[in-house]
């Protein structure tokens, strides 16, 4: 559900809100999920993105986002040059994925810490995005709120534990989803929060040995 202040805006560098601004935001979100400086990127364009990415500058935009630029950044036009300066190598491929939004990209990032992440995102119009997949996990994140992503073992009491930590910190939850690969396997909580939050929440959550990791993604 889009709200009234989602409609006019963002202030952005042209030429396309879905193919330029939305692509910047998907790239930027992928970088924050990676959590380290990206050194390699493989970008897979699907649907309309695959057909028109060169014409709309979607390629420049998504690289700009991976480099951490905002949708109104004056250097989006020159992001390939900036990538060279910052030591980011990249490749573009086109592909088809069944049952996804027409403007969808998958980004595989490798960070300087040696970690990898796969992020699938769709640009749903007017610069708004939805992240639908992180690695093998199905998610639904619009990037408008601070979001916690917590992979954990599928054992009883995990939701209660995490939500208690958040309650103790006085943080309000406004969105919550849970998925798992199999019974007793790995599950992932995606929790949307009001306002900003601080990294001490991660430390408190990580005290439980059944938590695999805890990542705070700031709103973009």
């Amino acid at each position: 559900m889009l709200e009234i202040f989602d409609i006019i805006g963002p202030v952005m560098i042209g030429p396309s809100s879905s193919h330029t601004a939305g692509a910047v935001r998907i790239g930027k979100y992928a970088r924050s999920i990676l959590g380290s400086k990206p050194i390699e990127a493989e970008i897979r364009f699907c649907g309309s993105f695959a057909k028109t990415y060169r014409g709309h500058g979607t390629d420049k935009a998504i690289i700009a986002g991976i480099l951490g630029m905002d949708t109104d950044g004056n250097r989006i036009k020159n992001s390939f040059t900036v990538a060279k300066e910052e030591g980011l190598s990249y490749t573009f491929v086109t592909c088809e994925i069944d049952n996804v939004h027409p403007n969808t990209a998958e980004i595989v990032l490798k960070g300087d810490a040696g970690n990898n992440v796969l992020v699938r995102g769709s640009s749903i119009g007017g610069g708004n995005i939805i992240i639908t997949k992180i690695n093998e996990t199905t998610v639904s994140i619009n990037g408008k709120s601070t979001t916690l992503i917590i992979p954990h073992r599928d054992v009883p009491g995990m939701i209660a534990f995490v939500t208690n930590v958040l309650a103790d910190k006085g943080v309000n939850i406004h969105g919550f989803s849970l998925s798992r690969d199999r019974k007793g396997g790995t599950a992932v909580m995606t929790i949307e929060l009001d306002g900003d939050t601080d990294a001490t929440i991660n430390d408190a959550i990580m005290k439980n040995p059944d938590i695999i990791s805890s990542t705070i993604l700031n709103a973009i």
Binding site: E3, I7, I8, G14, S17, G55, G126
Partner: protein, 249 residues
């Protein structure tokens, strides 16, 4: 919203330069030509109409040059709301606070369209982008010019009805041909709808139903006509030639 208004004004000014040229080299300089015609009183429909067309072209040309614009609601349709609102504001000496309220009215209409239909050309064709923008602008102008909320809703409905079925067929996949001129058309459509509504003319089909009709029309559109650059003007001999000219294949 006020910050958006400031960027809208800047994007009009940037696009009025006679030397604007898009990155592809296909477009640019048309806003300047239109404004010259208006300033020399060579245009046929008067100052308000001509200024709105020129401003619509200007913002859209700024966008094509990878300049800074406000998506309203999208970048492809970014010229329509600033063109109409800023033109009416100049003509009637309307202050920024009233214009800001106009932007909120426009956003309200846009929110309904986004949630009941779509604002993406890739989903609904140009009717979802320039159509939504002209419906939003029509309602906002109607309000700014003293119309009632009912009149604003009629203006929204009329604007959508007039643009229903318009396909998204960008030549070479670029937001340039026909998008830039469609921003001028969207401004004209918004002014038309607002004029009718302010004259007390009602839309026989209510705004909510017109919006749902727009969604259903979009759903039945071939993917070739939804921003894939496979159909419509993009698939004309000249469209294909321009594609080759830009991309070399």
């Amino acid at each position: 919203m006020k910050a958006s208004l400031t960027v809208m004004k800047e994007s009009v000014a940037a696009g009025m330069n006679p030397d604007t040229r898009s990155v592809s080299g296909l477009t640019g300089g048309d806003a300047y030509k239109m404004q010259q015609a208006v300033d020399a009183k060579r245009n046929i429909c008067g100052k308000v109409f001509g200024n709105a067309l020129a401003k619509g072209l200007a913002v859209s040309e700024t966008n094509a040059c990878m300049g800074r614009i406000v998506a309203a609601p999208t970048a492809g349709s970014c010229g329509i709301i600033p063109a109409t609102l800023l033109t009416i504001a100049e003509d009637r000496d309307i202050d920024d606070d009233s214009l800001t309220m106009g932007l909120i009215t426009a956003s309200g209409i846009g929110m309904v369209i986004a949630n009941k239909a779509t604002l993406a050309g890739a989903e609904g064709g140009c009717q979802a982008e320039c159509g939504a923008a002209s419906a939003m602008a029509a309602a906002a102008i109607t309000e700014i010019c003293g119309g009632t909320p009912q009149m604003a809703a009629h203006a929204c409905a009329i604007a959508i009805k007039n643009i229903l079925g318009l396909v998204c067929d960008p030549v070479a996949g670029l937001v340039e041909i026909p998008c830039i001129k469609r921003n001028a058309m969207g401004a004209a459509n918004a002014l038309t709808a607002a004029e009718l509504a302010l004259a007390g003319i009602a839309s026989a089909i209510p705004a909510d139903e017109a919006i749902l009709a727009m969604k259903k029309v979009g759903d039945t559109m071939s993917p070739a006509l939804r921003e894939t650059a496979d159909g419509g003007l993009a698939a004309t001999p000249t469209g294909i030639k321009l594609h080759k000219q830009v991309f070399g294949k």
